[in-house]
């Protein structure tokens, strides 16, 4: 499923409201979240891509119903964008809450699922400078394994 250019811009704006720049020392500021979401939507299954797209539309068009303000998400200031996301994540309607939570999960996975973040929090580096070294060692050990 192909996101349209304006949906890609929405994805970036919403994702950055969810996970603001400067997070974790700014190591992920350079990630192009809109582009990552575009790529994510190209992957199966179709229903996950559809849900992601629906979550973008829901969030972008939510202000009139959720906040009583005749604007789109793009017309809100930073603090109000965050307030809107909080409201959607805490909605009494399961469908709205689940959709917003799915968007949050995707934003976290795309923005924080990055080798620089993993290194910053010391994940997966036990005994290795870089995780890739472990794979290289294992590959070299191919001939030593069972049987």
């Amino acid at each position: 499923m192909k996101l349209l250019p304006f949906e890609i811009r929405w994805a970036d704006a919403i994702g950055r409201a969810m996970l603001p720049r400067g997070l974790l020392g700014g190591v992920v500021d350079a990630v192009d979240l809109g582009e990552e979401m575009r790529r994510e939507c190209l992957e199966p299954p179709w229903y996950a891509a559809l849900l992601l797209r629906a979550s973008l539309w829901l969030t972008w068009l939510a202000p009139p119903l959720a906040l009583g303000r005749l604007r789109t998400f793009g017309g809100l200031d930073g603090a109000t964008r965050e307030a809107l996301l909080e409201k959607l994540l805490d909605s009494r309607l399961y469908l709205v809450r689940a959709t917003a939570t799915f968007l949050k999960l995707q934003a976290c996975m795309l923005l924080l699922g990055d080798a620089r973040v993993l290194r910053r929090i010391g994940a997966y580096e036990h005994g290795h400078e870089k995780p890739g070294e472990a794979a290289a060692e294992a590959s070299a050990a191919d001939g030593r394994r069972a049987p």
């Binding site: 996970l19 996301l85 949050k104 999960l105 699922g113 973040v117 994940a123 997966y124 995780p131």
Partner: protein, 502 residues
């Protein structure tokens, strides 16, 4: 038939014949192939997913899910709530991406299978014990060791459990040379975890088996009441168009495609029965995050290192430490933007412990044009009560281990608890699956085994009722869930059933 590992897209499958055709390369398929080749049979193993070289395993959840998991890890069970349903789709199946936890099927569960489903002849305790012993030796089963493969979050869980007076132990896992890299769920980067991809399948190949990846089986060919072949198409990919193929089984077809895919494969093959695709069971699980004053480094050490057993028989729950990937954990913290950010800055101060419930609920599996496999599943109120009681125990253990905050992750409850005095909120947590963030990982049923053909799909020797030469050897035959991690039980059941075919 030439022994080895092959890619169906490039090597082709047309004209391949074997004594036994095994569909699936995970715990069931790998163990069946091992037992059959050890007995001298010619075996071909067909795996729908790719064979991923160790050096190409991802270091992020997204990369691993894209490569190793069905539907990129986004498969879902539908019901009152939608529940992520994790299934591997690669050579090695679930054994490549699980935490290598080893548990024999508990005696009381096996006794129930014998008494209610008549499985004593097909799966006697003595035969299963012999199979367990062999697998444990070959797959190198050992306990997690503090200071070596245990992480700090495992030690914290041990402390919390001891102070709560709950019995626990460091997990027993099948590994050889684990370095505690914390990447079990991404596929072990050191090949220390003894998945079928690094142990039983290479052993089978050494004994003459051929293992084909990217070989999705669409149907079992049944002629005059006997399974004689399987047909399918090579998986879509960069290497040429999808091509149809047929692989002939001289003696039998063994379906070991998982609790979701096996019943649907039988149905697509013309097998019918009131219980096919029914009695689908899971161990729903959810995590409780504790935030500690000092760094925990939860992603160092085995992905899972400690378990609490004290509530297994009384409450029907098992508690385990687990290092959920940080980018997934991040979404469990409250809020968005500036309220979320401070939690993410403390990612290295958290420990995540999970409750897995031996749920009584039963779901349904059906093929679907829209979803491929459609899973319908709804937890009962009793199951949800166990979930919330298990979560309360975990939260209490976190505080006893020194956590200053506990993230509840239950809709309707305070997002963060800051004192043990608040634990009572779990008692009023809603008995509604939509309030929880649950994941289904251990899957059972759908091709239930039993003596009575009117109440089961396969007989006690795991042969499909009414069809010769067609056997099912995976968790789908288990008539109930087990309350423990299923890999070892699946392997033993498949081993016993496969040895009978020789």
């Amino acid at each position: 038939m030439t022994p080895g590992f092959f890619d169906a897209r490039t090597d082709g499958l047309e004209g391949v014949e074997a004594d036994f055709v095994v569909v699936g390369s995970g715990a069931g398929g790998g163990a069946a192939a091992r037992a059959l080749t050890r007995g001298g049979a010619r075996v071909v193993v067909l795996e729908e997913g790719p064979r991923v070289p160790t050096r190409e395993l991802g270091e992020t959840a997204r990369g691993s899910m894209a490569t190793l998991f069905r539907n990129q890890g986004k498969q879902t069970a539908f019901g009152r709530a939608t529940t992520p349903l994790l299934q591997a789709r690669c050579v090695g199946g679930g054994t490549l991406v699980n935490s290598a936890i080893v548990w024999r099927v508990p005696e009381h569960v096996l006794a129930d299978w014998h008494a209610r489903f008549g499985l004593a002849d097909g799966l006697p305790a003595t035969a299963l014990d012999a199979a367990y012993a062999r697998i444990e030796e070959e797959m190198s089963v050992r306990a997690v060791v503090e200071g070596v493969t245990a992480g700090r979050q495992d030690s914290l869980m041990r402390d919390g459990a001891a102070r709560a007076r709950l019995e626990g132990r460091f997990l027993h896992r099948n590994e050889r040379g684990c370095r505690g890299s914390g990447r079990c769920l991404h596929g072990c980067p050191h090949e220390a975890k003894q998945s079928t991809a690094v142990n039983y399948l290479p052993r089978s190949v050494a004994d003459g088996a051929a293992v084909y990846s990217n070989a999705a089986v669409e149907r079992v060919v049944i002629e005059r009441g006997r399974a004689v072949a399987v047909t399918g198409r090579t998986a879509a990919g960069a290497v040429g168009p999808r091509r149809p193929w047929r692989v002939t089984a001289r003696r039998a077809v063994i379906v070991a495609a998982s609790a979701v895919q096996s019943p649907n494969l039988l149905r697509r093959s013309g097998v019918r029965g009131a219980h096919l695709g029914e009695h689908f069971m899971i161990h729903p699980g959810t995590g409780v995050i504790g935030i500690y004053p000092a760094p925990v480094g939860a992603w160092t050490g085995a992905s899972q290192g400690f378990e609490v057993l004290g509530l297994r028989d009384s409450l029907g729950v098992k508690l385990e430490s687990i290092n959920v990937p940080p980018e997934v954990t991040a979404a469990r913290f409250p809020g968005a933007g500036r309220r979320l950010a401070p939690y993410l800055e403390r990612l290295d101060h958290i420990a995540t412990w999970a409750v897995a419930v031996r749920a009584e609920a039963e779901g349904r599996i059906r093929p679907s044009r829209l979803f491929g496999d459609h899973v319908r599943y709804d937890l009962t109120a009793r199951d949800l009560d166990r979930v919330r009681r298990g979560m309360k125990h975990l939260a209490e253990m976190h505080f006893l281990a020194g956590a200053t905050e506990v993230v509840s992750s239950v809709y309707g409850l305070p997002e963060v608890l800051r004192s043990p005095d608040e634990l009572g909120v779990f008692d009023s947590a809603p008995l509604d699956a939509r309030a929880y963030t649950l994941v289904a990982s251990h899957l059972f049923g759908g091709c239930r085994a039993g003596r009575d053909p009117r109440a089961s799909v396969v007989d006690p020797r795991l042969k499909v009722h009414g069809v010769e030469g067609l056997h099912v050897m995976d968790a789908s035959v288990m008539p109930t869930n087990t309350g423990v991690n299923p890999q070892h039980g699946i392997m033993a059941v498949a081993t016993v059933a496969a040895e009978r075919l020789l």
